[in-house]
């Protein structure tokens, strides 16, 4: 395992080293020590490696990740795994605002709570939050899945497109054009697969409600102006 201590090594050196990794590299296990809230830790990786970060990180940890598994043993600042393409990002603590923003693929697992705007503009990512999520989550969410084992805050799924939201707890309020939808067999199957992928056991899919777009605001109509 390669271990990098961010107290001694500049961030730029860490990220450049990670960017030099290609498919088939032998250096598949990395450990980052003393991140101490630094921003942009382990961003832009494009190789099937595992990076274990021991401590809290700041903004945009694992941003635009491809293929890699990044595990944060601590809490994560805003924009964790933003625009992730593939791979897996696991936050053992809580995540701040915009977790998984515009993510296109892969899995973001937040074992604690996520703050506001979790999954904003998501475009294909799967996000699983074991705790609660804050207000305006899944705003303008285009596609992908957001699974919340706890509660959701205000205006969930405001102006949502085709993303699927599964919430086990309460939803404080739904945003514009977001409605509760029937949980059909295919949705139970999809949710079950997501929970399995995230390693969540002992939870039944029947405990969740599904939310998605009413598709009433897809094409502009003046008579819907009050909805905005």
């Amino acid at each position: 395992m390669r271990s990098i201590d961010l107290e001694k090594t500049p961030l730029r050196e860490l990220n450049e080293s990670l960017h030099q990794l290609k498919d088939g590299t032998n250096e598949t296990e990395w450990e980052v020590l003393n991140p101490r809230g630094q921003h942009a830790v382990a961003v832009g990786i494009d190789a099937p490696v595992t990076v274990t970060i021991r401590g809290p990180v700041g903004y945009y940890c694992a941003g635009m990740n491809k293929q890699a598994t990044v595990v944060v043993h601590g809490s994560a600042g805003p924009g964790t795994a933003e625009n992730m393409m593939s791979g897996k990002v696991i936050v053992k603590g809580d995540a701040s605002q915009y977790a998984g923003a515009t993510g296109r693929g892969g899995l973001l697992l937040i074992e604690g709570n996520a703050s506001s705007r979790c999954g904003i503009s998501m475009k294909g990512i799967d996000i699983v939050v074991k705790g609660n999520i804050g207000h305006m989550s899944a705003f303008m969410a285009q596609t992908g899945n957001l699974v919340v084992l706890g509660d959701a805050g205000d205006a969930l799924g405001d102006s949502i497109y085709e993303a699927r939201l599964f919430v086990r707890g309460s939803v404080k309020s739904l945003g514009a054009d977001c409605i509760e939808k029937e949980m059909r067999t295919e949705h139970h199957d999809a949710l079950s697969a997501l929970l399995k992928k995230a390693g969540v056991n002992g939870v039944k899919t029947s405990e969740f409600k599904r939310y998605g777009s009413a598709r009433k605001l897809y094409n502009f109509n003046i008579d819907n102006a009050d909805a905005y």
């Binding site: 942009a40 832009g44 903004y59 941003g63 635009m64 915009y98 503009s121 497109y161 094409n219």
Partner: protein
């Protein structure tokens, strides 16, 4: 004997003019505000209100066609490992694939490359046609993040974080369903045929302090190679530029209200934002106050039409200019040769601005395969290159006449203004006087 008053000439109101009346009727009929493309059509103080003084007893001119007048510019010298080197100080502004056809995007890349300058992606991601034909390509980083991915980010020669644009500072966009082809829908990860909202704010940062961290992330992802631009609309240019510098920009792009858009509300285009002329001096002042003029480069856009406009923007302190609408005209947009077809769309050549409807007979602002096919990207690219070369020659002509061997040596002292308004905005003397309105200097 009967007496008749002599008739008066029917008189229309200046306040309720024909356009205003037609807009009231249109709104009453449709219940929807007017959406259109392009920039502000109203007359505002502009570069035409400035003149160059030329050389005389106190300045030596340079010999046309003989003495060298350099036009090369380098952008992104502050932090980027690989700054951009351009032969001319005129770049092509961001315009999206989606709003423009793939052929039009390719033509912009071809024309820019032939002329030795850069072109820019837009709110729809990077197309292979555009990357392939563009020697220097600036990749826009927009609130919608449509098509955003790290591979394209690394393929780019520079990254432009778009905070706003001159046609609609503070506004997002809407690509209407009729322009959403299969390819556009796929690139934007949305269903075909629905209206696609382009957000007005970035999803994962708010304010310059956050932006500084976002730029750090973009630099880290690209190993500090690429120049990072910040583009702002002409709202509060002094503070916007100062904050862009604070956030870590290598280059700041300031786009005035004449700058075009693919589609926005008429009310937004005409009533929000400042004219380009009014933006330049405050922007330059901000750079000077921070000791960053010429260290962080300034690109000015919005209504640049010819070499004279370019020369005036540079004389006021810009490092380069950017063109969008003018580039589309060079490709063939609004060509009088298509007048018959424009009339079928209830408009006329020169006035066509329903770019959002996707029915452009010139094959530029459309996704219709038959219409798109009309634009030959090789020929259109050549036209754009010709136009850029003419602009450059005009710019050199003016610079030589003012005695400068590099276009960056143009300065405000080379200019005077024809109107008090332009003199105040450009901070140059009213012609025939030494009076700069708003300044105590005599």
């Amino acid at each position: 004997m009967s007496y008749q008053n002599p008739p008066t000439t029917p008189r229309k109101s200046s306040t309720f003019d024909d356009y205003t009346l037609s807009e009231i009727r249109r709104a009453a009929q449709t219940g929807i505000y007017d959406i259109r493309g392009g920039g502000a059509k109203r007359k505002v103080p502009h570069f035409d209100d400035l003149l160059f003084l030329g050389a005389s007893m106190s300045r030596y001119p340079l010999e046309g066609y003989r003495e060298r007048c350099s036009t090369a510019v380098t952008l992104g010298t502050r932090y980027a490992k690989k700054p951009i080197e351009l032969k001319i100080p005129i770049t092509i502004a961001g315009m999206s694939f989606g709003s423009l056809s793939a052929n039009a995007k390719e033509a912009l890349g071809r024309g820019a490359t032939l002329a030795g300058t850069s072109t820019t992606t837009g709110d729809g991601g990077m197309t292979p046609e555009e990357r392939g034909q563009s020697k220097t390509l600036v990749y826009q980083y927009l609130p919608s993040r449509y098509g955003m991915n790290p591979d394209d980010l690394r393929k780019a020669d520079a990254i432009e974080v778009v905070v706003g644009q001159g046609a609609k500072p503070g506004g997002g966009g809407m690509l209407l369903g009729q322009k959403i082809s299969d390819r556009v829908a796929e690139m934007r990860t949305l269903p075909k045929g629905i209206d696609q909202r382009s957000a007005c704010r970035h999803p994962d940062w708010t304010g310059p302090d956050d932006l500084e961290i976002k730029i750090l992330e973009l630099r880290e992802i690209t190993d500090w190679e690429k120049p990072i631009y910040i583009k702002v609309g002409g709202a509060r240019p002094y503070y916007d530029v100062a904050l862009a510098v604070k956030a870590g920009a290598d280059v700041v792009v300031v786009d005035g209200m004449q700058g075009g858009t693919a589609a926005t509300q008429e009310v937004f285009i005409e009533h929000i934002g400042q004219p380009t002329l009014a933006c330049i001096r405050p922007a330059v002042q901000a750079l000077q106050d921070l000791g960053m003029h010429r260290k962080v480069q300034l690109i000015v856009s919005g209504g640049i039409r010819n070499g004279a406009d370019c020369a005036k923007a540079l004389a006021l302190g810009a490092d380069a200019v950017s063109i969008g609408t003018a580039a589309l005209i060079a490709l063939g947009d609004n060509d009088p040769a298509l007048e018959g077809e424009y009339q079928k769309l209830n408009t006329t050549a020169g006035a066509y601005d329903d770019w959002h409807e996707g029915r452009d007979p010139a094959g530029i602002t459309t996704q219709d395969p038959d219409l798109s096919e009309r634009l030959d990207p090789v020929r259109a690219g050549r036209r754009l290159a010709n136009y850029l070369k003419v602009m450059t020659l005009e710019l050199q002509t003016i610079a030589r006449a003012a005695g400068h061997n590099h276009i960056h040596n143009l300065e405000p002292e080379d200019l005077c203004a024809l109107t008090i308004e332009a003199a105040a905005m450009a901070r140059v003397p009213l012609a025939g006087t030494s009076w700069i309105p708003g300044q105590d200097k005599l």
